[in-house]
Structure formats: structure tokens, C-alpha cells
Subunit: 413 residues, 2 copies
């Protein structure tokens, strides 16, 4: 079987642009929040496209959608691929959509060529990957993979008090299949990198070998609020001055690990936050990521102690809680090899890369042999209406997905 | 005339506690926002107390209240004293109230002793010193002193869209007198220090020689928001990491000037303020104060340049605007001397001190010879429900006020 199949880059791009009309924002982005009316529209269009290809669409209790294409051997577990159609509040056109509609293009190409794979294929649209609306990401794939408990997730509420369960019902997204893992042979996910590495190194394909280990903290620096005009230096206990040392420590801890390090204080709240009051309290989050789980272990051992020492030197008190630690998630070597081989065969430049972001694939990988394919995105920008990729980049990623999926589905058992 | 008059410390304390019932908070503080229904009650009680002493109360168009006691020589301009009855949202019992009710106790003591001063006396309750409700402090004394334009101030709105003018009318606080400076011989204001210096040095009286010079900035650090998991160190432009350097610079700039220096970043806002997003922008305020105006000039010359250099080193861009500069306001040497002499005569320990906070006296001093008297407050704490002073501290301050006022009102012309 010839694997170097053509992908119709224009058809793929048209699908992406067509889907981007649903929830389009004035600035050229997309706002398609999970389980919203706009998400309902996106799901309906996706289902229509699948059914037009003759694919049967099953939906589970979490709203995860599975479009199945029969294989020659009905006894083989399916090869799965896909991503998500929900977006950030000010999201881009490609985050998630590329994986779902790239998967659709794989299905369409197989239909064009009248090709039937040995194993069945299942194209997936996972529910609520982004976590923007219910403040909890990877909801659909997390329940499916058994990482989250279905009842607990369905009870999560948005800012208006609408629960995941209510929202599933109100847009008719809940299906009759149980939301739990079923036997599957593999899972492939095509996604934009959401970072600058491929673009900077002019690589067309990122062969994703796994996901980083992470440790997340939430904390507070306690000082004493006092009058900015009357409190002399010797009696100040300025929580923000102490916090400045913690911010620098997080940055230093990252940079000490070179280009693989990640360390960010992304959230910070000053109390009382008034121009003429010495800050009495600062609440914050800090997070570190690294491909090597041992590095995250070392950071978790030393960062709280170093931060506490710095804060005490400033006359304040540190409160720090490790919110969670996510182990590194290596992808399946055989699936990763299929991605690498496809890129090489197609003559596409590539590099191995560790995913910095979370993806449905990271949870699915706990239960099913998994790999991911990254494509570059302009300036590494994502979660932003200006998110941008080129049609030829989308096509290249989709070709690799096609190759990897077909090779896996046709592998001799 | 014997000047070492007894002040009834218990009566003074009872007045303070009685006024503190109006707007009392569960935590023992006071919430008496300017021109609120609660402020109306406070004003009514103050007027009742004044009228019970036979003092005529005039009110001007800004709601400033003047309770007049005739002097022997009706041709002499009055000696004024007072402060304000409005409070912070979570304020204490003494900030402002001590000056007004200490002044009332001066009036009562004079009545007890059947003493008539040469010059008339005027006890003042200035409208909206705190600036909490309409986000603009020193409103009443500012208009009276000609620092602010009456129409502009009356158009200021609270968060509910109620203007100062509306609020004045709705609680019936606006009077018929024009809100502008009239000839006055002197102004004395008794106030808690709102800082820790007197308590730390165990001084009973602060002889306030003037107010600090100030420079206020508002600014923003512009970086680039990006994904915390996918953005490597080399391509980050983290606005919060750059801001940490600015926070440290402000603190360093303060400490380089010893115990007289003040430098504070009190307000800070991170955008987008999400755990897993590298901050793209930080908005902030910074302010410096120093008794020596030349020091503030030197800071204003160098701080913006140093801050810009630090922010650029972090790959970000600084936007900085000098919001305003307040010159140092020296008080009148003759009035300050009266305060010092009173403290010495009464055998009270004292030290010269520069006011770190803004006060009605600072604006009045632009038009009328002025001095202030500070009393210690526990832990230097103010703008806080836990604000606390001792009855004997209030009494000592009130005695000095009595002495200074009577000495000024009886001085030979």
C-alpha cells in the first residue's frame, strides 16, 4: 500500500476557515466556549461533515464525539485520532480545531481513495479541553481516561452557576454511550505547537515524545499593611517587596535549567492594592515544568525552602501549598516512531519536542498508546485571537497524521 | 491668664466613644463614609453638641462646618482648629474625630472656665478628608483653600454614580456660606500620627513642622503574554519579572535615604493574571515622599531612567507618567513654636516630626498660618478598624491644642 497519500490542503484549510466562522470574533479569533450555544453549532457542523462521509457518530455521557470508519477486520480495536473544538474566550482558529479537522481530512482522503484500513478508525472531538468556562481543563478526555470522576466533573459550575451536567443537557450534547475508556489500538493528535521552537528552528514537524512534568503552587506572602506616607523603612513589612524576591527566584530557578526549564508566576493579587498603602498581603501562583521528572522533584524539594528564606529576610511570612504535581507523560515509542518515520518519508524537516502545554493526548496516553504531531505557529502565539499558521503547515501536519494513522491501522498483528 | 488649663479627659473620651457609635463596625472600627447617611448622623450630633454650648454653626457650600465662639475683639480674625468626621471604609475611631472632638473639648473647657479669648474661635469639621467614596481626598479643605475648583469637585462621582453635589444635597449637608477662604489668624489640627515614630520613641506629643514633599507615578510594564508551558526562557518577555526589578528599585531608592525616605508600590495589576500564562502586562503605581523637597527632585530626575534601564534589560518596555508632585509644605514657625511651648510647659515629652500623611492642615497652610499636633497611636496603625490610642494620649494632645489655641487667640497684636 502506498502511504505517501496526497492530502487536499485547500479542502483542509476551507474546513478550518468554515469552522472558524462559528464563534468568530471581530479581531479574527474564535470564542467557542465549551458546551455553549456556539459549541453546539460547532458540534452540529462536525457531525454533519462526518455523516456526509458515511461515518457513524457515537456520543458519550460527557459529550465526547466518536466518528467511526469501519476497518477490514471488525475484531481489531480502533486507531483513534482527534482533538477538541472548544476554544479559549479569546482563542484562535487552530488550537484544537486543527486536530479535529485534520482528522476529518484524513477520513475524507481515505474516502476519495476508496481505501479501507485493517483496523477501524475513530475520529474524536473531546469535550471541554480548554477549561475556560468551568475552570477545569481536559474534562472530556479526563473522564474518559479515568483521571477524573464523572459525577464530580459534572457538578463543576461556570460563573453563572450553570453546571457541566446542566450545560451538556441544555445544548443536547450528552450522548448515551458510557464516558469511559474502551479498547483502542492507538491515539494520534495533531496540534499547533503553541510555542516558538519549531518556528525558530524552521522545522515543519514536531515529533512529540511526551509531556513535561509539572508542579503547581499557590501561596501568599503575609506582611503588614500600613500608611505609605508615615511608615519608615525600618518598620515596614511590605509583602510586595518580599514577593519581588519570590518572582526573581522562580525566574532564576527556571533559567538555571536552560532552555528546557519553565517557571512562571502568572497570577498575583495585592491586598489592599491602594497607591498609598504599603501592601499587607500578596496572593500568587507559581508553576514549574520540565521534561525530566527528576528536575521537577529537585525543584519541589528546594523552591519552598528558598522562597521562605527570602520572604523571611524581608520581614514577611510565606504560606505555600503544592497544589498538584503532574508526572512527565512519555508517549508510546512505537507511535512516536510512526510519526517520525512519516515525517522522514514525506521529506519534512522535523525535531523531537516535549509538549509544554497540556493536551487531551496526555490523559489518553495513560490508557492507550499515544503520540502527537506538532506544527509551527506564528511567533509561538496561542490562546490569542492572533494565533496564526500557514495553509502549507496545516497540510504538512495532516499528511503526517494520515501516514501515521494508516501505518498503525494496517500494521501486521 | 493661666494657660495650664485642665482638660476633662473622661469627657473627651466619652465624646470619642459616643461619635464612634455612629457607623460602628463589628470589629470595633468605624465606617462613616463622606456624605453618607451615617455621616449625616455624625454631623447632626456634632452640631447638637456645639449648639448646646451656645456656639453658632455655619455651613458652607461644600458642607464644611464652622462652630464659632465670639472673642472679646470682634474685629480680630478667628483662630481656627478642627479636623474631619468622615472615615475610611474600614476606618478607626480616632482618625479625624480626635481633632474635631478635641476641639469641642477645648470649647467646653473654655465654657466651664468662663474664659473669653481676645480673638474669636472657630471649630471646623472639614468635608470628605479621606477621599474613599469619591476617590479624591481633602475635598472640603481643598475647595476652601482654593486648591480645587468647587464645580469640578462637586461633579466627582462615587461607584454608584452619585456625585459630590448630589450627595451634599441628599443628606442636607450643603450650607449657604460660600466655600472659600476667609480671613483667619491661624489653624491648628490635632491628629493621631498614623505612624510608629512617637510610640517607638515614647514621645507623648509630635510637634509637626510640616508635610513631606511627594511625587506619584502611574505606569505599565509591557512584555508579551505567552503560554507558560511552551515558552522557553530565551523568548520570554515576562512583564512581572521586569516589574519585580522596579519594585526592588523603589524600595532601594527609599532605603538609600534612611529613615526619612518613603517609597511604595501600593497598586499592581497583572494582565491577563492566569496561572499558566506568562504575564504580558503589569500596571502599577509608585510614590515617593521625603521631608526635603530637593530629595524628591533628585528622585524624580533619576528614578524614571533607572526603572527604564531595568525594564529594558528584562526585554520589556516601561511606560511611566508622573501623576503629580506635591511640594513640601512647611508649617508656620510661630504656630509651630506655640505647640512646642505648650508641650514643654505641660511637661510632655515631644519631638519634631514631619507629617507623612496628607491632612486638611496641609492645604489650609497655603492660606492661613498653620501647625499640627500629633499623638501616638498603637503600632502606628491607622486606616484600620484596629486603630487604637489611650485616653491619656488623647488628653495630652487636647491639652496642647487648648494651650496653643488660647495663646494664639490672646496674643498681643
Amino acid at each position: 500500500m502506498q502511504t505517501n497519500r496526497p492530502i487536499d490542503g485547500k479542502r483542509l484549510w476551507d474546513s478550518l476557515m468554515n469552522m472558524a466562522e462559528i464563534g468568530a470574533t471581530p479581531k479574527g479569533g474564535v470564542r467557542r466556549l465549551a458546551l455553549s450555544e456556539v459549541d453546539r453549532e460547532g458540534r452540529a457542523r462536525f457531525r454533519q461533515w462526518c455523516e456526509a462521509l458515511g461515518l457513524g457518530v457515537r456520543v458519550d455521557a460527557m459529550g465526547n464525539m466518536f466518528a467511526r470508519r469501519a476497518g477490514r477486520d471488525p475484531g481489531r480495536p480502533p486507531v483513534m485520532f482527534g482533538s477538541h473544538l472548544d476554544s479559549q474566550p479569546s482563542g484562535g482558529k487552530f488550537d484544537g480545531a486543527l486536530g479535529v479537522l485534520g482528522g476529518l481530512e484524513v477520513m475524507r482522503t481515505l474516502a476519495d481513495l476508496n481505501l479501507v484500513t485493517e483496523a477501524p478508525l475513530e475520529l474524536v472531538n473531546w469535550t471541554d479541553e480548554e477549561g475556560s468556562r468551568f475552570a477545569h481543563s481536559l474534562v472530556g478526555s479526563g473522564v474518559w481516561s479515568g483521571v477524573y470522576e464523572e459525577g464530580a466533573v459534572k457538578a463543576l459550575c461556570d460563573v453563572d452557576g450553570v453546571s457541566v451536567g446542566d450545560a451538556l443537557r441544555s445544548i443536547g450534547a450528552a450522548g448515551t454511550e458510557p464516558a469511559r475508556v474502551f479498547p483502542a489500538d492507538a491515539y494520534f493528535e495533531l496540534h499547533i505547537e503553541q510555542g516558538p521552537i519549531l518556528e525558530r528552528e524552521r522545522k515543519e514537524i514536531g515529533v512529540v515524545t511526551g509531556a513535561q512534568a509539572q508542579v503547581w503552587y499557590e501561596g501568599a506572602v503575609h506582611g503588614r499593611d500600613s500608611h505609605a506616607g508615615t511608615t519608615p523603612p525600618s518598620t515596614r513589612r511590605d509583602a510586595l517587596v518580599a514577593m519581588a524576591e519570590v518572582i526573581r527566584l522562580v525566574d532564576r530557578t527556571m533559567r538555571a535549567r536552560g532552555e528546557d526549564g519553565r517557571g512562571t508566576v502568572g497570577f498575583l493579587q495585592v491586598i489592599p492594592n491602594s497607591t498609598n498603602v504599603v501592601p499587607g498581603e500578596v496572593r500568587f501562583t507559581a508553576e514549574f515544568r520540565h521534561p525530566d521528572e527528576a528536575e521537577i522533584g529537585r525543584i519541589a524539594d528546594i523552591f519552598p525552602l528558598e522562597a521562605e528564606a527570602l520572604v523571611q529576610t524581608s520581614g514577611c511570612r510565606l504560606e505555600l501549598r503544592e497544589k498538584f504535581r503532574i508526572p512527565a507523560q512519555p508517549f508510546d515509542p512505537a507511535c512516536v516512531a510512526l510519526v517520525q518515520e512519516a515525517a522522514d518519508r514525506l521529506g519534512l524537516s522535523s525535531r523531537r519536542i516535549v509538549s509544554g502545554a497540556g493536551h487531551d493526548a496526555v490523559y489518553v496516553a495513560r490508557r492507550v498508546p499515544t503520540a502527537m504531531i506538532f506544527t509551527p505557529c506564528k511567533d509561538g502565539l496561542s490562546h490569542n485571537e492572533a494565533e496564526s499558521i500557514l495553509p502549507e503547515e496545516a497540510r504538512a501536519g495532516c499528511q503526517v497524521l494520515f501516514e501515521a494513522v494508516v501505518a498503525r491501522a494496517n500494521r501486521p498483528l
